[in-house]
């Protein structure tokens, strides 16, 4: 009961503190919006959003036509033809950001198996990102196009090996080889010999498509901000110590455990509400602005359990920070640095597994890693409660460890 009084008092203080409210509830939502690309989806046009690419076709042959049709069909880029003088003049004035020059010998070179070069000339002020997109599309189409010339060159080489055998020479005549290569190329357009099919592990009755990015970033940002609130726990305890109210409370007939429980409980409740708000936004808010929502219905019990343990663990970490830090500046500066560092290591903002070669098993030493993994397992991988047993155990272990060390090192005076 006494602990609850402290809890109520702290909750009232928190509601009055707009800065903390912003950090608890609005800042994470802002991060979700940015990192999920939701911000860009607001007001974005649904029309033809392909990049326009100016092309100077000095060749005019079938090779150039195939190339242009390929670029238009690849998606992302559409071609617009210009004559050379006009394109160069517009490019100089930066009225055109970039121009693709198809050389005069393009088709002839391709059919003779000679290497040819396409030049993408870019104005210095043009967007580097758009240039990279165009380059990727053109390279992709060019690679596909070389299939015909690769087949032809190989058949010619085989024909050369048969020199001296009149029957083989006839079979490997130029016309026959060109026809064969062309037929195979045409066949590969509709029925490529090998395709790479990307799938995700199947869940019964669900599609095997890749989920959108919004879902992948939500758990990381939730975990990051729940653990950042450890700083608030530490600061709240420090404030009580500083003004001497802790000592006064100690004089009251109240156990140390009840005192600390009273300090932790409001932050624990706030952290749970924080998770609820972020997930509700992930489910409803993203849907409202046209981004893909996060499916929360997969494992509600599992999500609730992970949320409770994550919030508890963050509070326990707050006690440890309060116990170790000697000054307010250590809580503010070191606390923030350590919590952001742990969040980055735990893969909350960017996928730390990409640095696996350097970090090795290091991410596993932070609770954020396990909380993140548990939320990902439940929300994105579609696993059940039993599949996150290890993650739950790790979070519980961290929580107990933080509490024990925190209480051991805690100076109530």
């Amino acid at each position: 009961m006494k602990a609850l009084s402290i809890t109520l008092k702290d909750l009232q203080l928190l509601v009055k503190d707009r800065g903390s409210l912003f950090q608890y509830f609005l800042l994470p939502l802002l991060f979700v919006l940015i990192f999920s690309g939701g911000l860009s989806s607001i007001g974005s046009s649904k029309g033809d959003t392909r990049l326009a690419l100016a092309v100077v076709d000095l060749d005019g042959g079938s090779g150039a036509q195939t190339l242009l049709a390929g670029i238009d069909a690849a998606g992302g880029v559409r071609t617009e033809l210009y004559d050379q003088t006009k394109a160069e003049s517009l490019l100089d004035k930066n009225e055109l950001g970039r121009v693709l020059f198809i050389p005069a010998d393009f088709s002839a070179g391709l059919s003779q198996g000679q290497p040819v070069t396409l030049r993408l000339v870019t104005h210095p002020d043009a967007s580097a990102q758009e240039t990279e997109t165009v380059l990727l599309v053109v390279e992709g189409v060019a690679n596909d196009m070389t299939l015909e010339s690769q087949i032809l060159a190989s058949l010619r080489q085989m024909g050369d090996m048969q020199a001296g055998d009149p029957n083989a020479e006839q079979a490997f005549s130029t016309e026959r080889l060109v026809e064969q290569a062309r037929n195979q190329f045409a066949h590969s357009r509709t029925q490529p010999l090998i395709v790479v099919k990307q799938t995700v592990p199947a869940r019964q009755g669900e599609s095997k498509e890749m989920p959108p990015l919004g879902q992948a970033v939500l758990s990381g940002i939730t975990v990051l901000f729940v653990f950042l609130s450890a700083q608030t726990v530490a600061r709240s305890i420090y404030e009580e110590k500083k003004v001497g109210s802790f000592r006064r409370l100690m004089a009251a007939p109240m156990s140390k455990a009840a005192l600390l429980t009273g300090k932790i409980l409001p932050n624990f409740i706030t952290a749970l509400v924080q998770i609820l708000v972020i997930f509700a936004f992930g489910s409803l808010g993203l849907r409202l602005i046209g981004a893909t929502p996060v499916p929360l219905e997969n494992a509600p019990l599992g999500v609730a359990l992970v949320s409770i343990l994550t919030a508890l663990c963050a509070c326990a970490l707050g006690i440890i920070i309060a116990a170790i830090a000697r000054t307010e500046s250590q809580i503010g500066g070191m606390g923030m640095l350590v919590l952001w560092g742990m969040g980055l290591l735990g893969g909350c903002i960017a996928p730390a597994f990409l640095l696996d070669r350097y970090l090795g098993p290091l991410p596993k030493i932070v609770p954020q890693y396990w909380a993140n993994r548990a939320f990902d397992d439940l929300l994105i991988r579609g696993l059940g409660l039993q599949d996150v047993a290890l993650e739950l155990a790790a979070l519980l272990g961290f929580t107990i460890f933080f509490f024990v060390i925190g209480l051991w090192r805690f100076d109530f005076e």
Binding site: A128, L155, A350
Partner: protein
């Protein structure tokens, strides 16, 4: 002259106070380094423009391989996958085993070669390699699929050439007339031709696409540009954290009564505000020097060819940030309210101004809602200016519009501060 002396005295006192506040020093200097360093390193190892040698030292992805095909094509694809430096490959005998590991997030993806892979290629029928990816790791999914596409490209040439040669022999009747020994010789020749072609493809692509600037110089890959943008964003975001420090400092002094005491001395009012602004501008300049210096030394961030442009822009950005701090102090009722408002401003403006970099170019260049709203945010102009100098090698004269707009923001903030601030 005396006014300048008083102003510099206020600046010196403020600098001493600033450098005693370790909390803020860590937030302003170490946090952007930590975040920028981590994100920069991550992008360096995953960027396709990174050199092959560096890449081998870089990313490592755990992938599973299920080769259900006993033929030559399955074996070759398996070998190629196992030789890829970025992969740590575990072999599984069934698709279910591999799928379970991907579903649990133990491996980033499973590459499944179907049982009839070689048979289909030999009979010139379409076939597919399945790349089953972990939906919780979309970044690894695109990398693995990209690499497998490259592997498949070569096997496709192999299958196509093999079919082409066989078709010609078959249609001419030469294969039917040949003895088993001659048939084996033809197959050996066929294989030789294929290998020559694949090696030739690797050495000299049939269509080379070159990206040039107007003078014909080759344009470098995008990673340096991204690192420049990342650190420009971090620098601008954390320079504007000064707003909180600046506004709370001014209001704390008012609440403690030290401003009143100063005013009873012959110190002009403007000297107090100007002195504080100068101190926080110097702090911001130091942030830029440390952050860009570290980014350049550790991650090879380009700094451009115009130190003068960088310096002028930094002065304009730090002036705008300090003036914004003064404005918040003038409009807030208490130091704690100023702290809250500044925190909100710092994050919201950073987000809308594109300082939390999620794209490959400054947000002000984007169209639609995001690009439109960025045009009223000072952060966006600051990032655009830094990006133009650092990544696009522009000079001071070319970024004068950005500097002008930032100064205009700063002057407006400063005037509001002077107009609205209550010294008592």
């Amino acid at each position: 002259m005396k006014a300048i002396y008083y102003m510099l005295s206020v600046t010196w006192k403020e600098i001493q106070v600033i450098f005693r506040d370790r909390t803020w020093l860590m937030i302003l200097f170490l946090l952007p380094l930590l975040i920028g360093g981590f994100m920069g390193a991550m992008n360096l190892v995953t960027n396709p423009a990174t050199g092959e040698d560096e890449k081998q030292e870089g990313i490592l992805l755990r992938v599973g391989l299920v080769n259900l095909d006993t033929g030559v094509f399955g074996t070759e694809v398996s070998k190629a996958i196992q030789d890829i430096a970025q992969f740590e490959v575990s072999a599984y005998t069934t698709t279910d085993q591999a799928e379970a590991r991907v579903a649990q997030g133990d491996i980033t993806s499973a590459i499944i070669i179907p049982a009839d892979f070689s048979e289909k290629i030999n009979s010139y029928e379409s076939t597919a390699i399945e790349v089953m990816v972990d939906p919780a790791e979309p970044e690894s999914a695109s990398i693995v699929t990209g690499i497998i596409n490259q592997v498949v490209g070569e096997v496709t040439i192999w299958g196509e050439v093999q079919y082409g040669v066989r078709s010609i022999f078959k249609q001419s009747g030469l294969l039917a007339q040949a003895s088993p020994q001659e048939q084996r010789a033809i197959e050996a020749q066929n294989l030789g031709v294929i290998m020559t072609r694949i090696n030739e493809m690797r050495r000299n692509p049939a269509i080379l696409v070159v990206s040039e600037d107007l003078l014909g110089a080759k344009i470098q890959g995008g990673i340096e540009l991204f690192i420049a943008l990342l650190f420009a964003g971090q620098a601008v975001m954390f320079i504007f954290f000064i707003v909180a420090m600046c506004s709370t400092s001014l209001l704390s002094e008012r609440e403690a009564g030290t401003i009143r005491r100063l005013l009873s001395a012959p110190v002009p009012r403007g000297a107090i505000i100007a002195g504080k602004t100068l101190a926080f501008m110097l702090l911001g300049c130091l942030q830029v020097v440390i952050l860009f210096g570290a980014a350049n030394l550790l991650l090879g961030a380009p700094l451009g060819h115009s130190p003068l442009g960088l310096a002028a822009l930094t002065l304009a950005v730090t002036f705008t940030a300090a003036a914004m701090g003064m404005m918040v102090a003038a409009l807030a009722k208490s130091a704690s309210q100023a702290g809250s408002i500044s925190l909100i401003l710092a994050f919201v403006l950073a987000a809308l101004g594109g300082a939390m970099v999620t794209a490959k170019e400054p947000v002000i260049r984007a169209g639609g809602f995001t690009g439109g709203i960025a045009k009223i945010i000072p952060h966006a102009y600051a990032i655009e200016g830094y990006y133009r100098v650092m990544a696009e090698n522009e000079s001071l004269s070319q970024i004068l519009p950005e500097i002008g707009i930032l100064l205009a923001f700063g002057i407006v903030f400063f005037l509001i501060a002077v107009w609205r601030f209550r010294y008592e």
